[in-house]
């Protein structure tokens, strides 16, 4: 069971990464683009807009704490994110 969980955690980290909001926003953005296209509305502008919203939002979440390890005591020393997937 723990191996199955580790397998799932690996793929979650590999694909979703450490901010699920980004993945969810992208799925919504693609669905919205498809919806606009089906409705006959020009749709190319939606994904750039999603980027303009998502990237600052994700950065704000990282800077305000939840996506980076919080500093408790002592000097400002570099820390690696415990959930940093390889290569990122």
């Amino acid at each position: 069971m723990s191996k199955l969980r580790a397998f799932g955690a690996f793929w979650y980290d590999f694909v979703i990464g450490d901010d699920w909001v980004v993945a969810a926003g992208i799925v919504l953005g693609l669905a919205g683009t498809y919806g606009l296209h089906r409705a006959g509305v020009t749709a190319w502008w939606l994904l750039p807009l999603v980027l303009v919203v998502l990237l600052p939002l994700s950065l704000a979440r990282a800077v305000s704490g939840p996506l980076l390890p919080r500093r408790t005591h002592g000097p400002r020393t570099p820390q690696a994110s415990p959930r940093t997937p390889p290569g990122h």
Binding site: I26, L30, L68, P78
Partner: protein, 262 residues
């Protein structure tokens, strides 16, 4: 080579070079601290597994309808690209420690030296084998993903594969020639550039797959890529200001001198 082909070659080359630097660091640490034969066998075994994955996934991916492929790949490239870009911006602005290959090499080396030796039928040193195998397999998976997705979308898997092989051979060759981690490679800047490329291609292909028609067709990429780059640099500058002004409550590190991390 066309403009689209050149962009494909550069994007794949840079992304694969970054992955190759990280894999080379791990294999060098495994070979130096443990046993070169075991590290080599581990690398070859991982390359074999990756070749099997390419042989299975390659034809399957190329058989997908282009629209479906572009939506799937666009989504994945956007997720990956935004992850890379976010981390690159956090590093460049001083909110996250810069990626230090020499430090990582020293950590891998210390950990590898502390492990007890254990023989196996595959290699004289099991730890050296598995360390090297896992490093090459994990970093290689990303190379495979990049080659297959970029290549299949651009209908030029061959060019993407050649670009990846050039990057891996160049980086691994340099690493093994100097027998040291490639600390002088500007990895953080490369990651910033790769994040921009992955995000831009993700927006373009994802949009096309979902039915959007880009003004200017393929030429839209020539606007999307610099626009994403400018946006990333702008956010870096804003975040650096917040570090210098003491804003934010998360981990903060002294900001680097240049807006783009080295």
């Amino acid at each position: 080579m066309s403009a689209a082909g050149s962009a494909l070659f550069i994007a794949v080359f840079l992304a694969c070079a970054v992955e190759a630097v990280e894999a080379t660091t791990i294999v060098l640490a495994a070979g130096t601290a443990r046993d070169w034969r075991s590290a080599g066998t581990g690398s070859v075994a991982a390359l074999f597994v990756l070749a099997v994955i390419v042989a299975v996934l390659g034809p399957a991916v190329s058989h997908l309808p282009l629209t479906t492929l572009r939506v799937l790949v666009g989504a994945l490239l956007l997720v990956f690209g935004l992850q890379w870009l976010r981390k690159a911006i956090l590093r460049a602005s001083g909110h996250k420690a810069l990626h230090d290959e020499a430090k990582l090499y020293a950590e891998h080396l210390a950990e590898a030296k502390g492990q007890q030796a254990r023989r196996s039928f595959l290699a004289p040193d099991w730890y050296g084998f598995t360390l090297s195998f896992k490093g090459v397999l994990l970093e290689g998976l990303e190379v495979v993903f990049i080659v297959l997705t970029f290549g299949a979308n651009a209908k030029n898997v061959g060019l993407a594969a050649i670009s990846a092989v050039c990057a891996v051979v160049l980086v691994a060759g340099a690493g093994f020639a100097i027998k040291a981690p490639l600390a002088r490679v500007p990895e953080n800047t490369l990651k910033f550039v790769v994040g921009i490329m992955l995000t831009s291609f993700g927006i373009f292909w994802g949009g096309e797959g979902a039915g959007a028609h880009w003004p200017g067709s393929d030429a839209a990429l020539l606007v999307i890529i610099p626009a994403v780059a400018l946006f990333g640099l702008g956010l870096t500058a804003l975040l650096r200001r917040s570090v210098e002004g003491g804003g934010g409550s998360g981990t903060r590190l002294p900001a680097p001198a240049s807006p783009v991390a080295r």
